[in-house]
């Protein structure tokens, strides 16, 4: 088998062993529907609520806030559409949101806030947009950007919202965040927080929306009234157990991992700059900075290179990476995030996202530095 250098953890990261073991064990142990009345059902229900407690505790929020979903997109949709359905009004988000936020906001005719050149929402810009709007009911601001890794100053932004749109609920898409920031404190002011399993070593298809107690939200899936009427459907007990195990491990080793991967990220970017010179422009990362930019993401722009062609060459060498967000067909679409930062479409075409995760090693970085520069040179000098 060819060797694989997997540098696409921001798209999805391998399931952690602890999560896999929990997943298998729970799937075997719990055959009953947790909403039933008998002992087997109560047993399953307990496993589900244990998972709920564990996730809440790890992220410093009350267990009653946890609404399990099928992942980040569902959590984002429940937050935005749930609030609009219950309260009406206008939704506002940053222009650098994931599509799972951007689409529901734009679909509802909401407004967007441009990013600054560091990939973040500037408080003044947010204030300007909110000041021009009446009846803002929800403001959604991504915690860690999925493309660039830029980390928003959520407390400062929350203060602006409280001041200029005091009735608005605050939502953050924290799908990329749990591994790279102390989400509990960063998002403490937020009423609604979306997370997902597969970005931190849990199964794809697991996720949750934290909903602050007392928040009125229209369910988006109607049925048997599960998750306190906020999300119908038989709960995925095994998935929740695995998700919880992954969250616990992630949070426990988070600081060590941030330090470890931050060093690898910087080595990777520095190595590319050393080998390719000014062809490489780091999009936001600054060496040593794991506070404003996720330690895991090396996003660079390669002048004169077509990312799609580069990804093909890298893939054929066993290096898995990505450019802008992939569309459903598998093609690379132009990045709305880079556009929101004011980066020209042509420049953005040369973007490459190398994202690290819990399985990343020094050897991966060495291999990437062996593979990427010759591929770039080949495209440039063809």
């Amino acid at each position: 088998m060819e060797r694989e250098i997997y540098l696409d953890h921001a798209a999805s990261t391998p399931v952690r062993i602890e999560a896999r073991d929990e997943w298998m064990a729970a799937a075997e142990a719990h055959h009953a529907n947790p909403t039933g009345a008998h002992k087997a059902a109560r047993h399953a229900r307990r496993a589900l609520d244990d998972a709920r407690d564990a996730i809440a505790a790890a992220l410093g929020r009350p267990p009653a806030e946890v609404v399990f979903t099928s992942g980040g997109s569902e959590a984002d949709n429940l937050a935005i559409r749930g609030v609009l359905g219950a309260r009406g009004g206008v939704a506002v988000c940053s222009a650098g949101e994931h599509h799972a936020v951007l689409e529901p906001v734009e679909h509802a005719g909401g407004a967007t806030v441009a990013l600054d050149r560091t990939g973040r929402v500037a408080p003044d810009e947010l204030r300007r947009v909110l000041s021009d709007l009446d009846h803002v009911s929800v403001v959604s601001l991504i915690a860690v950007n999925n493309e660039t890794g830029a980390i928003n100053d959520l407390p400062a932004l929350a203060a602006v919202v409280r001041e200029t749109a005091p009735d608005a609920l605050l939502h953050t898409d924290a799908v990329q965040a749990v591994s790279w920031v102390d989400l509990g404190s960063l998002a403490a002011d937020f009423d609604l927080v979306s997370i997902t399993g597969h970005k931190l070593g849990g199964p794809i298809g697991t996720g949750a929306l934290f909903v602050r107690e007392g928040t009125v939200l229209d369910a988006q899936i109607l049925g048997g009234g599960q998750e306190r009427g906020r999300r119908a459907g038989t709960p995925d007990v095994a998935g929740a157990a695995a998700f919880a195990a992954a969250v616990e491990i992630t949070v426990r080793y988070r600081d060590e991992e941030i330090a470890r991967l931050g060093v690898l990220r910087d080595r990777l970017v520095a190595g590319l700059v050393e080998r390719l010179g000014d062809i490489v422009q780091p999009t936001v990362a600054t060496p040593g900075d794991v506070t404003n930019v996720a330690a895991s993401i090396a996003h660079v722009m390669l002048r004169g290179v077509e990312a799609e062609a580069l990804l093909f060459l890298l893939d054929s060498e066993g290096l898995r990476a990505s450019a802008a967000s992939s569309c459903s067909s598998g093609a690379q679409d132009p990045s709305p995030v880079l556009a929101a930062m004011g980066i020209d479409r042509e420049v953005a075409e040369g973007s490459l996202r190398l994202s690290l995760g819990h399985t990343s090693t020094e050897a991966d970085i060495d291999a990437a530095l062996e593979i990427i520069p010759p591929a770039v040179e080949r495209l440039l000098h063809h």
Binding site: E306, E308, A309, F312, L313, C327, S328, S329, G330, A331, Q332, D333, P334, R345, R378, L379, H382
Partner: protein
């Protein structure tokens, strides 16, 4: 590299090359992001291409050339209609996307040869490679590929050239490919059947009404959208009726005039041409000429700026391609002008 559109032809092309021992990689171009219910760029077609590649055990990649497609195919299509022409966007897609953009991509990725599932042949001649008609006359696609120059032809493999469509479907069925019975794509991929050309153009340009006049200038009717009128058209001209059938013989979009005449007025002895290119050396004397994808072959002589027909010929809508053949091989092509 095999271009896989998600249809049966390119599926079989990939399978045949693989059987012949080539190391094959499948590529699907994503060209159109807007609504589509007719053509080749829908996500379901990409899925078909991917699943056929999976079935064959070959790698499959998707390249997004949406910006190129908009610039080189869609925008000129709209501009041509605005100018009263009748463009053929499939030819422009072949010219700019399939056999230029993708070939350049293949180049940088190190693919010496590229294959497609077109029904046509690459024939070696003393004057270099030439494009020949496909074995299945009803499916022959040499007309829409006429622009391929010898540099491209020397890198191109057309595995279906000697097969009929029935052969292709049988091979696909034998290999249990999911595209075996897939209907053929028709029409322009970015124009939906549901909304049509009028709605598509209307979203992008103001459609202008025009007067319908006889050749002596007498006004006899009107049309809502001059951009949608084409040579030879009989219906939708707002004519009173009671006369002999009237046909459009000229469209002057800037002046807002559509001229009609009798059937006999549809015939001409020469047609002006633009952008004529010979594939290799130029030819003197009479040639076989074809003016639509599966049209009849007529005789004529190509000279600077146009073609002289050997016998009276129906007028060709400006914007349509005229392709020249000698012994079934494409020797040149150009675009009819007004």
């Amino acid at each position: 590299m095999v271009m896989m559109s998600g249809g049966v032809d390119s599926s079989v092309a990939a399978a045949l090359l693989q059987q012949a021992g080539h190391a094959v990689v499948g590529v699907t171009m994503k060209l159109w992001g807007g609504p589509s219910d007719t053509g080749c760029c829908a996500v379901s077609d990409v899925d078909d291409a991917r699943r056929v590649a999976d079935r064959l055990g070959i790698e499959h990649h998707v390249f997004n050339f949406g910006d190129d497609f908009e610039r080189d195919v869609v925008a000129p299509y709209v501009a041509d209609h605005a100018a009263g022409l009748t463009p053929n966007p499939c030819i422009e897609c072949n010219r700019h996307l399939k056999f230029d953009r993708l070939f350049r991509r293949a180049d940088v990725l190190g693919f010496g040869t590229v294959a497609t599932g077109h029904h046509a042949r690459v024939v070696s001649t003393r004057d270099g490679p030439r494009l020949g008609r496909g074995a299945d006359a009803a499916k022959d696609q040499s007309y829409v590929l006429h622009m391929l120059d010898q540099t491209v032809l020397s890198r191109l493999i057309l595995p279906l050239g000697d097969l009929t469509k029935a052969d292709v479907r049988r091979i696909a069925a034998d290999l249990d490919l999911r595209t075996a019975h897939k209907p053929e794509s028709q029409d322009v991929c970015f124009i939906t059947n549901e909304h049509g050309r009028r709605a598509f153009l209307g979203d992008r340009i103001p459609l202008k009404s025009a007067r319908v006049v006889e050749q002596d200038g007498t006004e006899v009717g009107s049309v809502e959208s001059v951009e949608l009128v084409t040579i030879g058209q009989r219906k939708g001209l707002g004519l009173a009726g009671g006369t002999d059938p009237r046909y459009v013989i000229d469209v002057d979009a800037p002046a807002g005039t559509v001229t009609v005449g009798e059937k006999a007025d549809l015939v001409t002895s020469s047609t002006p041409l633009a952008n004529w290119d010979w594939t290799g050396a130029a030819f003197d004397g009479e040639l076989d000429l074809q003016c639509s994808a599966h049209g009849t072959v007529e005789r004529g002589t190509v000279r600077s700026g146009g073609v002289d027909w050997s016998s009276p010929h129906r007028r060709i809508a400006p914007g349509q391609s005229v392709v020249a053949y000698v012994d079934g091989l494409v020797v040149g092509g150009g675009i009819a002008t007004r």
